[in-house]
C-alpha cells in the first residue's frame, strides 16, 4: 500500500516565487503573442499575395517550424545565434523562438481566413470604387481575422502553455520558478500540482482577455450573439 502525505506548508514561504513566475509567464507569453500575431499577419499576407517567390519562402518557413520540435527551435535561437555573434538573454531568446513558432502556426490560421473570403466580395468592392489596398484592408483582412479569431485565440493560449518549455534554457518564468522551488523543498508532487493550478488560472485569464479583445475589435460578434 502506497501512502503519501501531502505537505503544502512550503507555500507559506514560496508563494511570492510562484506569483513572480506567473507574472513572468504573462510577460513572456503576452509579448510573444503580440509580436507573433504581427508576424503571422505579415506571413499570411505574403503567402496569399502575388509574389510566388516570397510566398514560397514563407511557405518553407512555415513548414520547417511546424515540422520541428519547439524545444529544438528554442535551443537553436539560444545556443545557435550567439555563435553568430548575437548574445541573447534567455528571456529574449525565448520570446524570439516563441514568436517565430507562433508566426508560423498563426499565419496558417489567418491564411485560411483570407482564403475563405469569396471572390464576389472583392468584385463588389471593386465595383464600389475601392482601390486594392482599401479592399485588402476592409473586405479581406478584417473579416478574415474576425472569422478565424477563435482558432487564433486557442493558438495563443497554447503558446502560453508551451512557454513552460523555455524553462529548459532557464528563461525566467513559472515552470523555471517551480523547478527551483522543487529543488529546494523536494516536494515535487505538490509543487507541480500548484504549478498546474496556476497554469490553469493563467489559461482562463488569457482566454478572458482574448475574448474581451475580440468583443471590442469585432462588433458583429458582440451584436449577433444569441
Amino acid at each position: 500500500m502506497i501512502s503519501y502525505t501531502f505537505d503544502f506548508s512550503f507555500l507559506l514561504t514560496t508563494w511570492p516565487a510562484f506569483m513572480r513566475g506567473a507574472w513572468q509567464t504573462i510577460l513572456l507569453a503576452g509579448s510573444s503573442i503580440a509580436f507573433g500575431f504581427v508576424l503571422a499577419l505579415v506571413c499570411a499576407i505574403i503567402r496569399s499575395g502575388k509574389s510566388k517567390l516570397a510566398a514560397g519562402l514563407v511557405g518553407a518557413y512555415v513548414e520547417v517550424i511546424r515540422n520541428t520540435p519547439l524545444l529544438v527551435q528554442i535551443f537553436i535561437v539560444y545556443f545557435g545565434l550567439p555563435s553568430l555573434g548575437l548574445r541573447l538573454s534567455a528571456e529574449t531568446a525565448a520570446v524570439i523562438a516563441l514568436v517565430i513558432n507562433t508566426g508560423a502556426y498563426g499565419s496558417e490560421i489567418i491564411r485560411a481566413g483570407i482564403d475563405s473570403i469569396a471572390k464576389g466580395q472583392i468584385e463588389a468592392a471593386e465595383c464600389l470604387g475601392l482601390n486594392k489596398l482599401q479592399i485588402y484592408w476592409h473586405i479581406v483582412l478584417i473579416p478574415a481575422v474576425e472569422r478565424v479569431y477563435p482558432a487564433l485565440s486557442s493558438q495563443f493560449v497554447l503558446l502560453m502553455l508551451s512557454s513552460s518549455i523555455t524553462s529548459q534554457i532557464s528563461a525566467q518564468e513559472l515552470t523555471a520558478e517551480a523547478n527551483m522551488i522543487q529543488s529546494e523543498t523536494f516536494r515535487s508532487f505538490e509543487v507541480y500540482l500548484i504549478v498546474a493550478a496556476v497554469y490553469l488560472a493563467l489559461s482562463v485569464l488569457f482566454r478572458v482577455v482574448l475574448w474581451a479583445i475580440g468583443e471590442v475589435a469585432f462588433v458583429r460578434r458582440r451584436k449577433l450573439r444569441t
Binding site: A118, G120, Q121, E123, A124, A125, E126, C127, L128, G129, L130, N131, Q134, H138, I139, I142, P143, E146, F218, R220, K223, L224
Partner: protein, 262 residues
C-alpha cells in the same frame, strides 16, 4: 396589345436628343482560354432607358455585363461608358468607370461583417471621402428608397434574400451612378421574394435611371424594358422593343427560347 397590358406599360423614356449614349459596346469579343464566349457583340444603351438582356444560360450575358464594368477584360472591340473607353489595364479609366457604373449581383455580395448602414457608407467615406454624418444621411435616404429604413443597424445575415438584394441596390444607388447593371438579381431568391426586388427596380426605371439587366423575368422585361436583347452563342441574336421581340420573333432560336417556358 390589351388594355391591361397597356396600363402596365411605363411611358417610354425618349432618349435625350443629341445626348451621347451611356454605353456603347462595339464589336466586342471575349475568350476564356480557348473558349470564345463573346463574338463581336455590339450594343448601345441610351440614357434613361432600360435594356433587358435575355438568353439561355451560357450565352455570354454575364460576361458581357462584366466586360462593361471592367471585371473581365475584352479581347477585341471597344466599350465606351459615358464617353470614356473602358480598359482594365488603365487605372484612371477604371476609376472613372467606377463612379459612373453601379452593379448588383445575383449573390448580393453584401459585406457580412458590416452593418447594413456601414455596407452603404463604406464607399462613401473611404472612396468619396465624405464625412461620416453626411454618408449616413445618404445611406438612410437610399435605404428608405428601397423600403428598408428600419434595417440600418442589422447585419446581412439577419436579412431575407429579398431584403439583402434591396440593400445591395441601395448600396449602389448611394454612389449616384449614371447607369446600373443588374446580373440576374432575382435568380437566387425564393419566388415570393422576387416581387419586392422587382418593385424597387421598377421604381428606379420610372425615375429615369439607366439600367441594363440580365434577367429571366420575362414578364418584367416585357412590361418595363425599352429594348430587349436576345443573346445566343455569344452574339446579339435579336434586339428591339419588347413588343417586337416577344410578339414577333424573327429567328427560330428566339422563338424556341420564348416557347421553352421561361
Amino acid at each position: 396589345m390589351s388594355v391591361n397590358e397597356a396600363a402596365g406599360t411605363r411611358p417610354r423614356n425618349e432618349a435625350v436628343p443629341g445626348a451621347e449614349p451611356i454605353i456603347v459596346v462595339d464589336n466586342v469579343s471575349k475568350s476564356f482560354g480557348p473558349l470564345q464566349v463573346l463574338h463581336g457583340v455590339s450594343l448601345t444603351i441610351e440614357r434613361g432607358t432600360m435594356v433587358a438582356i435575355v438568353g439561355r444560360s451560357g450565352s455570354g450575358k454575364s460576361t458581357l455585363l462584366r466586360c462593361m464594368n471592367a471585371l473581365d477584360e475584352t479581347n477585341g472591340g471597344t466599350i465606351k461608358v459615358c464617353g470614356n473607353a473602358v480598359a482594365m489595364s488603365d487605372r484612371a479609366s477604371v476609376k472613372r468607370l467606377r463612379t459612373d457604373v453601379g452593379m448588383v449581383f445575383q449573390s448580393y455580395n453584401l459585406f457580412p461583417h458590416l452593418t447594413v448602414l456601414r455596407n452603404i457608407t463604406l464607399a462613401l467615406t473611404v472612396v468619396q471621402k465624405k464625412a461620416r454624418v453626411e454618408a449616413e444621411k445618404i445611406a438612410r435616404d437610399v435605404l428608405a428608397l428601397v423600403g428598408l429604413a428600419d434595417k440600418a443597424e442589422s447585419y446581412p445575415e439577419q436579412l431575407s434574400g429579398g431584403q439583402a438584394q434591396r440593400v445591395a441596390i441601395a448600396r449602389s444607388l448611394a454612389l449616384s451612378p449614371k447607369v446600373l447593371l443588374f446580373d440576374e438579381v432575382t435568380s437566387a431568391l425564393d419566388p415570393e421574394l422576387t416581387g419586392e426586388v422587382l418593385k424597387v427596380m421598377e421604381d428606379l426605371a420610372r425615375q429615369g435611371m439607366t439600367m441594363v439587366l440580365v434577367t429571366h423575368e420575362m414578364a418584367f422585361a416585357r412590361r418595363l424594358a425599352d429594348i430587349v436583347v436576345f443573346m445566343h452563342q455569344g452574339k446579339v441574336w435579336e434586339a428591339g422593343p419588347p413588343a417586337e421581340i416577344f410578339a414577333d420573333p424573327k429567328t427560330p432560336e428566339l422563338r424556341q427560347f420564348l416557347s421553352s417556358g421561361l
